[in-house]
Structure formats: C-alpha cells, structure tokens
C-alpha cells in the first residue's frame, strides 16, 4: 500500500510539472500579448509598451523565462501578478478557502441528493421517486450551471428575496451556488447509484440473503448499497474535480471570491504567473482527492483492504 502511494505521488509530481510546463508553452505560443491587453494601444506609444515588456521580463527568450520560472518556484517564489503586481502566492492562498468551501458544499449536495435519490429509485423502481430521480438526473446533467445559477437567483433572490444573489461571506451566500453546482454532480451520481444498485439487487447473493430471511431494509442498506457504492465513489471523486472546475463559472455568476474567478480573469489578461500558481494549486488538490478516493475503496470493500498489501 505504501509503495502504491509512493509511486502514485511520483506520477502525480510528473503530472504537476508537466502541466505547468505545458501551460507555459501554450501561453508562449498563443498569439496575444499581456501588455497589449493592459493598455490602450491607440493612445499608448510603442516605446511605453516596450518599456512595460522589459520591466515585466516579457522580452527575454523562451528558455530563459521557463528556467527562471521553475527556478523561482523551487525557492517558493511564484512571482508577481502582471496586472496588479501583487505577489501570486498570497493572492491565491487568500482565495482558496472560499473555493474549497464551495466545492465541499456542492459535493455534499451532490452526494446527499445523488445517493439518496439513487437508492430510493432503485428500491422503488417505476414509482414516483424513480421518475423524479430520473428527472433530476436528466436536468442535472444537461443544464449548464450558469443557466441554473441565474434561474436560482431570479427565483430565490429577485422574486422571493429569500437568499442573497451575490457575495461570499456567511452561510446564506453559499446555498444557491452550492445548489447550482451540486445539482450537476447529483445528476450523474443518481444515475450511477441507481444503475449499480439494480445490478447488485439482481445478484445471486441477494437472493441467498433473502432466502435466509434477512429484513429487506437491512439487505438494501448493509449489503447492496455497500457493493453498489464502489463505482459511485470513483465517480464522486471525479465529480469533485469537475466541481472545482465548475467554480470558474459559478463564482462569476454569484460574484463569489475564489480561485476560479481569479483564474478566469488571469487567463483573460494573459497574466501567466497567476495562471501558473492556480494550475499548481489545483493539480495538488486533484491529486489529493484521487488519493482519498483510492483509500476509501479500502474502507468500503474489505477485499481491497486484504489485497492492498500486494498492489
């Protein structure tokens, strides 16, 4: 198990370094110039623009910039933003809690709604709950978050005035964005849990359990759900990753603070140091989530726990 985690960490490191280098290259190759998006090219003279390039180190050759970037990063220096000239690391760290909170809240919505509806619709197949679960699944997967986000604002903020439409301080401001983002995850989880519950319910061991006279509720929760959860957990891990990505849109729609919003702004302004800093941070979170997913297999499934030593 330790060895597995070790090799896992190594390949994760490769993924992180690789993505940083790739993003660097993309920024280098893409047409466009951060300086030209900072100033008004019709009034600001070419010499001023040249001076800005020099001050920001943008006129140095590609390999020098790439090496300098990784060199600085090893010493913990992520550089300064090209736009606001503030240091990148504090800028990002300051916004991280808000994004993590939103991701966690959305994941909670997705898991609670997804697993509950998934289980209920499998055991009451064909009923009203099953129908509503399938509707949730369909809408969750097909509704873009910016659309459902705006709908939630129009209904709960503008019309009913129950919840705030914007901001990121307090529990109240978390509800609408977490619902908008969590519903997408819930959509996929409902379908996955329902499907695998139905599969497991048809397996011979369930018939055995029934024949032994166990209570149906106990069979469903203790035996069937537990077996059905393994594929669902993989999906949930990936969904949390998607939600982290989804914050880019949701944070903008609900005017929340967070790294998603900074990332979108930084990409628009071609502010490479900020983009790199966020790529680095996001990569670490992704890798961490995947590690947790792996560990949770062992918790759910004793067979994996026992085999663990060999993998």
């Amino acid at each position: 198990m330790l060895q597995a985690i070790g090799s896992r960490l190594f390949s994760s490191l490769l993924v992180i370094v690789g993505s940083l280098a790739l993003v660097f290259c993309i920024f280098y190759l893409l047409p466009g110039d951060p300086v030209l998006s900072m100033v008004d090219p019709t009034t600001v003279s070419p010499e001023v623009i040249e001076n800005l390039r020099e001050q920001l180190g943008l006129n140095r050759p590609f390999h020098e910039r790439l090496l300098a970037y990784f060199g600085d990063m090893l010493t913990g220096d992520f550089g300064r933003s090209l736009v606001g000239s503030e240091p990148v690391l504090p800028k990002i760290l300051h916004q991280v809690p808000s994004t993590l909170l939103l991701t966690a809240a959305s994941a909670l919505v997705a898991i609670v709604v997804g697993v509950t509806l998934g289980v209920l619709s499998a055991v009451r197949k064909g009923g009203i709950i099953d129908l509503s679960a399938r509707i949730v699944g369909l809408f969750g997967i097909s509704m873009p978050t910016f659309w459902s986000g705006i709908l939630l604002i129009l209904i709960f903020s503008v019309q009913l005035k129950w919840l705030p439409a914007m901001g990121s301080d307090g529990f109240e401001t978390l509800i609408l964005p977490a619902l908008a983002l969590g519903f997408v995850g819930a959509g996929s989880i409902v379908r996955m849990v329902r499907g695998s519950m139905l599969d497991v319910l048809n397996e011979p061991f369930v018939t055995t359990l029934r024949a032994k006279g166990l209570r149906e509720r106990l069979i469903q929760i203790k035996h069937v759900l537990r077996n059905a959860l393994i594929p669902a957990v993989t999906l949930i891990g990936m969904q949390i990753g998607d939600m982290l990505a989804g914050t880019v849109i949701i944070e903008t729609v609900f005017s929340r603070q967070g790294i998603g919003r900074i990332l979108a702004d930084a990409i628009m302004a071609k502010d490479l140091p900020v983009v790199q800093g966020i790529v680095f941070f996001t990569a670490i979170v992704y890798v961490g989530i995947n590690l947790l997913v792996d560990l949770s297999y062992a918790a759910i499934d004793p067979r994996i726990r026992r085999k663990g030593a060999r993998t």
Partner: protein
C-alpha cells in the same frame, strides 16, 4: 489501478482546455481617457441630506489597481473619484474648473504652465499636499520603473517640474499642447500621497492614500472595495455641491460581473446601485416604480468602424462611399439597443468641444447610389449576386473582438446582410485576439473602436499620419492637410479657431467616407429609490460626495 489514475490526467486536460479557450479573450476594456455626462435621467427629489449609511455600488468588472499612475481601466477611475482629487476638474459645460490647483497660467510659448495650489489640503495619511507632492507624482509617472502606461499617455508631453514655492509649481512641457491642461482633470492623473507611494512601492495599489472625500478601508479581491468617510475633507470642488466631508459613512464597491446578478441585486435590495445596465433592462427599469435609472452619454470618439485604406478596393473613395450609402445605421442601432443608444454621425460625439452638428442627418441609406458607385468602378454582379472585377470577388473583411461587447458582433452580422444587397460579400472574423489581428498584422478591411476622451485632440491618435517607427492608425490615413489642421488645433489657444479646425477635420473624414460612425455609448446605472444626490461628472464618472440615503 490504471483506471484510477484517469482523473489526474483528466485534470491536465481540463487545465489545458480551459487555458486554450479562455486565453486570447484579451480584454479591450481599457479606455485611457474620459467620458461626459450629457444627461442624468434619475429622479433626485430635493430634501435635506441625511448623514450616515453605507452606499453599495456594483461594478461590472474589477479595478486592476487603485494606483492611478499604473491603472489601465476606466472602472478603476470610478473609484479614484472617491479616493483622490485631481488638479483641475471638468465642469458640466465642458470648461475647466479649479480643484487642487486654484489658478493656472500658460507661458507665452505654450511650453510651461504655472499652477497655484490650494493650501491646507492634507492627504489621508496626514501628510500635507504641496508643490513637492505634485512634482513627485508627475516625475514618478514618467519614470519607467513605475510602469505607467495610460497615465503616461495623458501626461505627455510633460518634461519636468519646478517647485516655485510651497504652493506654486511650474510644469514644463517638451512641446506645446492644448490638451495638456484638460488632461490634468482626468482621474488617471489623480494626486497620490508621495509618502505612502514611496513607502508601499508596488503595493501602493492595494493601500492607496489620496486627498479625496473617502479613505481606503479594505479590498477583498473580486468581492468588494470598502471606503469610509474622510472626516477632514473640506476642499470639494467641481460639480459636487457638498464641498465638506461626505454624507455617507461608507462607500462599498461590489464587483459583480454577471449582469443578471448585478441588476437582480438592485431589485432584491442587496446593493443600492449597479452599473452597466443591458438595453432590455433599461427599458424595464425606466418604468419600474421601485428603481431609478441614470444614463450618461460618454464623450470622445463614438463606436466607429474604420476602413483600412491600405487594402484594396477600400483605398478608393467611391468604394467606401458605396458602403457608407448601403449601411442603414439607424435600423441597426434601433434594433439592437431598443432605442436606448443614440446613433453617431461624426468622428466625435456630441458634447465635446468642436463637435460638428451639421453632419447630423447628412448620410442616409441609398442603395441606388451605392450600386451606381460600384458600377462606376467596374464591379459587376456575378451569378450569385456578388460583384466581381477581373476575376476578383468584392469582399469586405470585417474584424471584431470577442466576447460580444455591447452587441458589436451583432452589428457585424447586420452589416453583412445589408451589404449583400449591393453585391458586397462581408467576411466577418470574430477573434479573441484583436491585439494581434488588428494592431500587429493590420489584417482587416473594416474594424470598430471607440474612445472616451474629453478633448477633441483625441482625433490625432486616429487620423494624424504616422512615421515609420510609430504605430500606424486604424485607417492608415496620411494626408498633410489633415496633419496640419490637427497640429494647429493641438496648440491653438483661441477656442473658436480650435473648434473650426476640428470641424474641418470631421467634415473631411465624413466626405472621404473614412469611417462609419455607429453609436454613442451611454454609461448606465440602476439604483434604488432611496439613493439621493447621485450625479455624474462630465467624464461620466459618479460623484459620491453629494450622495445620501433617504429613509
């Protein structure tokens, strides 16, 4: 095991996809200069101002920095007005008025200005405002280390300062400039505290200190910028009626990019005002009993489509005139903006010195004339209705930026349909990278731009010929006569003569069909009924010192 690695790689794909999609969305939101309040349709009922309260004002985009010397965004200037003062102010009638400078005098050769400064003014850190402070401000703008861009463009041709005495300063210029004095009234040339600027260095933009009616309290990124009342303020000027400390305890700018959320915030009461209202909401808000709408037409250069004179056949007057006669600007502006935007007629907007009203109504759609002009040039309609000449199809390469700012992409689509009627094929290219397509490769036949500015000298940057070493203009026009008019107008002290020169330039531009003026952009603000005393200066920026909140 293999399968479980997938998400990690999927991450890489996500990052790449996102980077590729979003990169290149270069924001073109920079507007160096200024705007003008033509009319505020808000309903401010007169009653005694009430002290206290917090005014929340939702901005569509985030300021880049609160250091006016380094900023490149007009949205920052909305905050500068509360934090800082400028040396001069532009009055509603377009004249210049005193602010931190009380008197000014131009030398006979036009190469220097001597300014008397207001006494007793203090920065919010307690340090005094004086001639040394002005000298520091302007010298630091021309220092390359400061990385000033838009402020530097406004301060040009400033050379040096001489401190005559504590409250007198002499500003020396490289060359004479009639636009210089007016530029001193622009927010990007606001005066910062030298002590704080030196101490904070690059971090001054997040810890700004000025002389304005509001002090900086906090900035949490992408959420809000909070300012509080400066109780010592006693030197208000310009259009603000209240010259003392502000009525509001707090002024909070919320950053709310999504327009439905922003306008919804006013309707749900989460903010008291929100800027940049979409046309459909303007129509609805004008009849909403619970809200008020402020609309201010900006001045400068309207949204204008420029022909690239270096591309054939658009170097020929008749070809350009044909397009000018075929495009129905009225229909475009009415359809897209539901009557909330005004159409433009000239290379300048109304409300700016020298605007030529005689050009209004001079151009009318006339397809017969347009067809006749193209016939004369020998372009003959082919089988598919598109004109041809010597095997070449008559095409117009129309470049526009993305995202679809102010529905400009829709203008392109409508013009494409209108030009089809006279046998011109329009190739619309929507790109996220205007900087490369337009300002590096100059690869377009028609491209649109606008500029907010308070001085007609703005025309020089668009219509004066350029040297080999300089960046060319959007038209690429090179006409010694126009150069002469623009140069004379740039230094002419007599306003009537200046006006006449700029009118000549505008008529020339119109007669030569160098451009298609499209619309004048209105700065719009939706506000709750309780907001009183909100006005806008002639630059189109809000004045907060008169604002109070009624019960």
């Amino acid at each position: 095991m293999k399968r479980r690695f997938k998400p990690a790689y999927a991450f890489g794909a996500f990052a790449l996809a996102l980077t590729t999609v979003l990169a290149g969305c270069g924001s073109s939101s920079n507007s160096a200069a200024t705007a003008q309040a033509a009319s505020g349709s808000g309903t401010a009922t007169a009653s005694a101002p009430v002290q206290g309260g917090e005014f929340t004002y939702a901005l569509a985009t985030s300021p880049d920095t609160l250091d006016p010397r380094r900023s490149g965004l007009a949205v920052s200037v909305r905050v500068f007005g509360a934090l800082y003062d400028t040396l001069l102010v532009r009055n509603a009638d377009g004249s210049l008025g005193p602010s931190l400078a009380t008197e000014w005098e131009q030398s006979d050769d036009g190469l220097s200005y001597t300014l008397k400064l207001k006494e007793g003014v203090k920065f919010q850190d307690g340090t005094p405002f004086n001639a040394e402070a002005v000298k520091y401000n302007f010298d630091s703008i021309i220092d390359p280390e400061t990385k000033a861009a838009n402020a530097l463009a406004l301060l040009r041709p400033y050379k040096s300062s001489e401190v005559v005495d504590e409250y007198t300063i002499k500003l020396n210029l490289e060359t004479a400039s009639q636009a210089f004095l007016g530029n001193l009234s622009q927010g990007m040339l606001s005066i910062v505290s030298p002590t704080a600027a030196k101490e904070k260095g690059e971090d001054f933009g997040k810890n700004p200190i000025g002389t304005g009616p509001f002090k900086f309290l906090s900035w949490s990124e992408n959420a809000e910028i909070v300012l509080e009342r400066n109780p010592d303020y006693a030197w208000g000027s310009g259009e603000a009626k209240n010259t003392g400390a502000a009525y509001l305890d707090r002024l909070t700018f919320k950053i709310v990019p999504e327009e439905a959320t922003r306008i919804g915030g006013v309707q749900s009461g989460q903010v008291l005002a929100a800027e940049t209202v979409p046309p459909q909401n303007i129509v609805a808000l004008e009849s909403d009993p619970n809200a008020q709408l402020f609309k201010t037409n900006t001045i400068g250069l309207p949204y204008t489509l420029f022909f690239n004179l270096e591309k054939k056949p658009w170097d020929e007057l008749k070809a350009r005139q044909a397009v000018q006669s075929a495009v129905d600007v009225d229909t475009i502006v009415k359809t897209l903006y539901l009557g909330t935007y005004e159409r433009a007629w000239s290379s300048l907007t109304p409300g700016i010195l020298g605007y030529d009203e005689s050009l209004e109504g001079k151009i009318a759609p006339n397809l017969e004339k347009a067809n006749a002009l193209l016939d004369e040039l020998g372009w003959v309609k082919g089988a598919d209705g598109i004109r041809e000449k010597e095997g070449q199809r008559l095409t117009l390469h129309y470049v526009d930026g993305s995202p679809n700012r102010e529905k400009r992409n829709d203008i392109a689509a409508m013009i494409r349909e209108q030009l089809k009627a006279i046998g011109v094929e329009t190739e619309v290219e929507i790109t996220q990278d205007i900087a490369t397509a337009v300002y590096q490769n100059w690869d377009y036949d028609l491209y649109g731009n606008s500029q907010v500015n308070s001085d007609p000298n703005a025309l020089s940057a668009f219509y004066h010929s350029t040297k080999e070493s300089e960046r060319r203009t959007l038209n690429g026009l090179s006409d010694p006569e126009v150069d002469k008019w623009l140069e004379e107008a740039g230094v002419e002290k007599d306003e009537a003569k200046r006006t006449e020169l700029y009118k000549k330039v505008q008529r020339y531009i119109s007669d030569q069909a160098l451009i298609l003026p499209i619309y004048v952009f209105p700065y719009t603000v939706a506000a709750a009924k309780s907001v009183q005393g909100l006005t806008f200066d002639p630059f189109g920026y809000p004045i907060f010192n008169d604002v109070y909140l009624s019960k």
